[in-house]
């Protein structure tokens, strides 16, 4: 018994010491880790070009949502009836298992729904469009900055896209990617996003044939398609609201 007990106690002591040490380190680094993420977002917002006054961060209401998440995570966690109404007004059943955004929306609707989604801590945004910053000129909404996600060669690409209120791309910037250095990573270079600026929904280039200078993306076609897809999805998202309902 004793020859089992002593190694056990010693091993436990080592475990305990390790856990305590790591707890201490975690306490020190927890703040900076949280800040680091905020800093990349803030830095990106400073670098990206947009007109008007930037509103607060809002979780973007998803285009489609499984009924399970819609009922159990979203509706169940809205406390007051006003916000529940805001959400229910926007979503209709698509089929048995999914709900989707209605087609008769205004920018104001989506912003108030976004405010409700932002307040729900349990909801984790997924899909192509995950967050938004409304842009205002005076009292009028002039456009959006969207947090959009695409799939590149090495994995997910997280981007910011600046859009006019009709969905035209004004600027874009990559926040996070896992692309190959020297090839796909070039998407972070100055001027890469120029080819997307001024395009809208169907005219956002996603295949090489849509470019004036296709050689510029040779060797990194998948990154180019990923970025294009993300920007196109963002543009579609915005063109769903109100007057410019054309897709």
């Amino acid at each position: 018994m004793k020859e089992l007990l002593i190694p056990g106690v010693k091993l436990f002591t080592i475990c305990l010491a390790a856990a305590l040490l790591l707890g201490l380190i975690n306490a020190v680094t927890k703040g900076p880790i949280a800040d680091a993420e905020k800093q990349t977002v803030e830095k990106a917002l400073k670098e990206i070009k947009f007109d008007g006054e930037r509103g607060d961060y809002l979780v973007a209401p998803p285009v489609e949502l499984s009924k399970e998440i819609y009922e159990k995570t979203v509706l169940a966690n809205t406390t007051d009836t006003v916000s529940k109404d805001t959400i229910q007004k926007l979503y209709t059943g698509k089929d048995e298992n999914t709900v989707m955004l209605t087609t008769t929306l205004t920018a104001a609707d989506i912003i108030s729904a976004a405010a409700v989604f932002t307040a729900i801590k349990e909801y984790k945004p997924k899909g192509a469009v995950r967050a938004m910053f409304p842009l205002k000129k005076g009292d009028e909404i002039s456009g959006f900055i969207l947090e959009i996600w695409g799939v590149g060669y090495g994995g997910d690409i997280k981007m910011f896209g600046v859009y006019d209120k009709d969905g035209t791309v004004r600027d874009a910037l990559i926040l996070k990617d896992a692309e190959t250095p020297g090839l796909g990573k070039k998407a972070r270079d100055k001027g890469y996003m120029d080819k997307y600026i001024g395009t809208k929904t169907r005219t956002v280039p996603v295949i090489k044939a849509m470019l004036d200078n296709p050689d510029a993306v040779t060797g990194a076609t998948i990154t180019f398609t990923g970025v294009g897809d993300a920007l196109r999805n963002g543009s579609r998202y915005i063109s769903m609201f109100g007057e410019n309902n054309e897709n």
Binding site: A18, A19, L22, G23, I25, V151, G152, Y153, I222, T225
Partner: protein
């Protein structure tokens, strides 16, 4: 992602050997003979599927509720080490034949980065419990495929007249590199075209 998507991803697109470089030590070390390669491959499938499942349970039901996710590396590696030991003892009891076939490879798996790798990746990708298990299984299957191809190749290479400096590991690396070139054909676009 659907289960089929996960299988295609881990077997072909991000094959642990050819694109992620996880589990290279046994890949080079145990690929000299087809028999031992098959043994190692199945041992990895076995352990990585169970490890992905168990680490999912531990991460989501213990570490997350207690808010100590920073201990994930240390818990995962201990769990995997204990698991390997347990599996070894179980196989020895249940099927001595299987133990004779897999036995010597099992202890090596503790330090195989493929197993810890899939546990960490499953957490990072926020997979559900079944998705984690499928991911663990397919990562192991991808490893088995790679090591099987490699060992078949190396058995033949042994009979070739290779320059002395290239014999052994160097030619193995170069052959693996050429195979990896082939695997570059599998990418995310392929997956998109296959399952939308």
């Amino acid at each position: 992602m659907t289960y089929i998507g996960i299988i295609i991803t881990f077997v072909f697109i991000t094959n642990f050997i050819f694109t992620r470089f996880l589990g290279l030590c046994p890949f080079i070390g145990v690929s000299k003979k087809v028999d031992s390669a098959v043994g190692m491959g199945f041992a990895v499938i076995f352990v990585s599927s169970i490890a992905a499942l168990v680490t999912w349970v531990i991460f989501n039901l213990i570490l997350v509720p207690l808010n100590i996710t920073y201990l994930q590396t240390i818990t995962f590696i201990l769990v995997i080490a204990a698991l390997v030991q347990l599996v070894e003892m179980m196989i020895q009891k249940i099927s001595p034949e299987l133990y004779r076939a897999l036995g010597i490879y099992l202890p090596l798996i503790t330090t195989n980065c493929a197993v810890l790798g899939i546990a960490l990746i499953a957490v990072q990708e926020e997979y559900g419990v079944i998705e984690s298990f499928v991911a663990g299984f397919s990562a192991g299957a991808g490893f088995l495929m790679a090591i099987l191809l490699m060992s078949a190749l190396r058995e033949r290479l042994d009979r070739e007249d290779i320059p002395k400096a290239f014999r052994g590991a160097p030619i193995a690396f170069i052959s693996a590199g050429l195979m990896a070139l082939g695997f570059m054909a599998f990418d995310m676009t392929l997956l998109k075209n296959l399952i939308g």
